[in-house]
């Protein structure tokens, strides 16, 4: 059977599975729609959180980014896992005890203010939209590469599937579908990584092979360690050392921080901890989520190193002088057709060669590192089909989680809590479904007409989460003195400072986006961490000079600090 047919079968089977689960787990009340009835077991919630978290970008692009930037890529690895420690230790248990549905619920109640709630809603919606546009695009790209349909058609199919299970099932449908999607995506990611690890180092675990000696085709040790080889190749070709990177330390520090604190402030992740029955389940499910994420995130740098060596050796040949184009492996020609690899024979010697600087003849898109690995390693066709299904699972699971936050923000935080407090549960559920449907249509629109700034706005999403929602939640739990004036001015100043800095360097004065012009050498990607400090400082200062927090709010803060008495997530 050819790759194409296999891909149709595997992708079709996984889609049928997701839809089947959605029908089985459809939501009957707002509580089921928003928090899956509050009865999800911690291991399952951990798995769903992991699928929610690992997007098309994690699955398709991250290994490529690490592969091309070496040590610098560590900011994503540490940043996107370290945030879970903050979630588990500082947020999940207390927010679960608080026991309502959304992040704006907490901020609105804790700071006894509709304004605070509204600021939080705007942040949540903006962050989610930024993300989801990229996801739908990912769905379209996977479809077009592996199933050879138009990108637009791919987006429509993706929209239809997500529509079906997000609108019908709400959080309940999404949670159980995400459990299935996690299994599909982790299997699809690990199989090629294990194959290639065995092939290059003889170790089954990529995490171990990463630090091991390379073996030759017969499986005998060569005495050369993978990473030494990679540093050697990088030096030879004029790149900075793979294990040392090229970014300034201060920037690495701040980007890692912005991603960690941003992760802990992302509404679609936080809301997952509202779905478990008890406070101790919230703690435990954060642990499980990180286990499931770490399985993939510790494999990513290994896969990145394997494919980097593999790619350089395939292109430059054993004697590093380049390989004749005619005898180059098929995958180079296959991917050339998609435009993701381009060859420009500058010295007219008919050989392909890869280096840093003027002699380089190859333009290689980072995204192919994961997608082309099965081909580079000559793995069987079913593995290629599996990778396609995995990429789709990653994109769909994240989109669904984000859509849910958008629809909840509209139906619950805006309508029920702001504009029409008297609507019935049934009406609210209907509005939630309408909002989810509208969200899908808008996401699809951005998937088909992608704004050129998607990559730039991802920095904004994390920066804003780190500078606005994260500090507001932390202060809400750990301080009894931060009042509504402090919290609102903190969020606004943090938000404006961060957004202003990013917009200036990414849109207004793009030419000035160089380390000399940055504040303390911090790039726009890392400024969210600075925004977080600004938020804390402003909130403390303003709270000092304005009134005290009302006694009923102080009582509420005291009551969320210990587990006993946590009921199920409350109906209103």
């Amino acid at each position: 059977m050819d790759v194409q047919t296999l891909t149709y079968i595997i992708v079709g089977a996984t889609f049928a599975l997701y839809i089947g689960i959605a029908i089985w787990a459809r939501a009957g009340s707002t509580k089921e729609f928003y928090v899956a009835g509050g009865g999800v077991p911690p291991v399952m919630n951990g798995m769903a959180t992991a699928a929610d978290w690992m997007s098309a970008a994690s699955f398709i692009s991250l290994a490529g980014i690490v592969s091309f930037t070496g040590y610098d890529g560590s900011v994503y690895l540490m940043g996107w896992t370290g945030g879970y420690v903050l979630l588990a230790l500082c947020m999940a248990p207390y927010l679960r005890k608080f026991g309502k549905f959304t992040v704006p619920d907490f901020i609105g109640d804790r700071y006894y203010s509709q304004t605070a709630r509204t600021v939080a809603v705007i942040c949540a919606i903006f962050i989610c939209f930024t993300y989801i546009a990229g996801q739908m695009r990912g769905v379209g790209v996977v479809f077009s590469r592996f199933l050879e349909v138009e990108v637009d058609t791919g987006v429509y199919i993706g929209m239809a599937v997500v529509f079906f299970y997000a609108v019908l099932g709400g959080m309940k449908g999404i949670t159980y579908t995400q459990v299935a999607q996690y299994c599909v995506l982790i299997f699809a990611f690990m199989v090629p990584a294990i194959f290639i690890s065995v092939m290059m180092t003889g170790h089954v675990l990529p995490q171990v092979g990463f630090g091991a000696e390379l073996v030759d085709a017969a499986g005998n040790g060569t005495g050369v360690y993978l990473l030494d080889k990679l540093d050697g190749l990088s030096a030879e070709l004029g790149f900075s050392q793979y294990t040392e990177g090229s970014k300034a330390m201060v920037d690495v520090f701040f980007i890692t921080g912005a991603l960690m604190f941003g992760t802990a402030g992302l509404p679609h992740v936080i809301v997952r901890f509202f779905t478990v029955p008890r406070v101790k389940d919230a703690r435990l499910s954060a642990g499980w989520a990180l286990v499931f994420i770490a399985i993939m995130y510790t494999t990513i740098p290994a896969l990145a190193a394997f494919s980097r060596v593999n790619m350089i050796e395939t292109i430059n040949g054993p004697d590093s002088t380049g390989v004749a184009y005619e005898s180059a492996p098929d995958w180079i020609k296959n991917w050339e057709k998609t435009g993701l690899i381009a060859w420009d024979d500058k010295n007219n010697d008919g050989k392909i060669s890869y280096a840093n600087g003027a002699t380089n003849e190859m333009t290689i898109d980072r995204d192919i590192m994961v997608l082309a690995t099965p081909e580079i390693a000559s793995l069987p066709a079913w593995v290629i089909a599996l990778v396609a299904a995995g990429g789709l699972a990653a994109a769909l699971s994240t989109s669904a989680g984000l859509l849910l936050v958008i629809s909840t923000s509209v139906s619950h935080d805006l309508l029920k809590k702001n504009l029409m407090p008297d609507i019935s549960d049934k009406k609210e559920l209907m509005y939630a479904r309408i909002a989810a449907a509208l969200g899908i249509v808008m996401a699809g629109y951005f998937g088909i007409n992608p704004p050129g700034f998607v990559a730039a706005v991802v920095a904004i999403a994390f920066g804003l989460a780190a500078a606005s929602l994260f500090p507001a939640i932390i202060m809400g739990i750990f301080s009894k003195t931060i009042n509504k004036e402090g919290a609102i001015s903190g969020m606004l100043v943090g938000l404006l400072f961060t957004a202003g800095y990013i917009v200036y360097f990414k849109f207004v004065n793009v030419g000035a986006n160089t380390p000399e012009n940055w504040l303390f050498g911090i790039s726009p990607e890392g400024i969210g961490m600075m925004g977080m400090f600004v938020n804390f400082i402003v909130a403390f200062a303003v709270s000092k000079v304005t009134g005290a927090v009302p006694q009923d709010v102080v009582d509420m803060v005291e009551s969320i600090r210990f587990p006993q008495g946590a009921g199920e997530a409350q109906d209103h």
Partner: protein, 88 residues
């Protein structure tokens, strides 16, 4: 009031903060410390075929993160029991 008295409530919170801050200190040490600030010094040491600083940044920090959460879960649950504020 779930605690017997205010002293108990304050004691529980103090112990909880000490637990969280202690674990966060390790969290920051392995990531911001070993993985970033002291990475050059640690890279002089070889560990299982890795330069140690690089290993922390791309592997070690993540293993420690996972361990930290499970230690927290065990200790926080024990603390809830000690002060009798656990769930059934």
């Amino acid at each position: 009031m779930a605690f017997e008295n205010n002293d108990k409530a304050a004691g529980y919170w103090r112990e909880n903060l000490r637990l969280v801050l202690g674990l966060l200190a390790i969290w920051a040490a392995v990531s911001f410390g070993c993985g970033i600030l002291f990475v050059d010094a640690l890279n002089e040491i070889t560990f299982m075929g890795f330069k140690l600083g690089f290993w922390f940044a791309q592997q070690g920090a993540m293993y420690v993160f996972v361990a930290l959460i499970f230690v927290y879960v065990a200790k926080a649950n024990a603390l809830d029991k000690k002060y009798d504020v656990h769930e059934d």
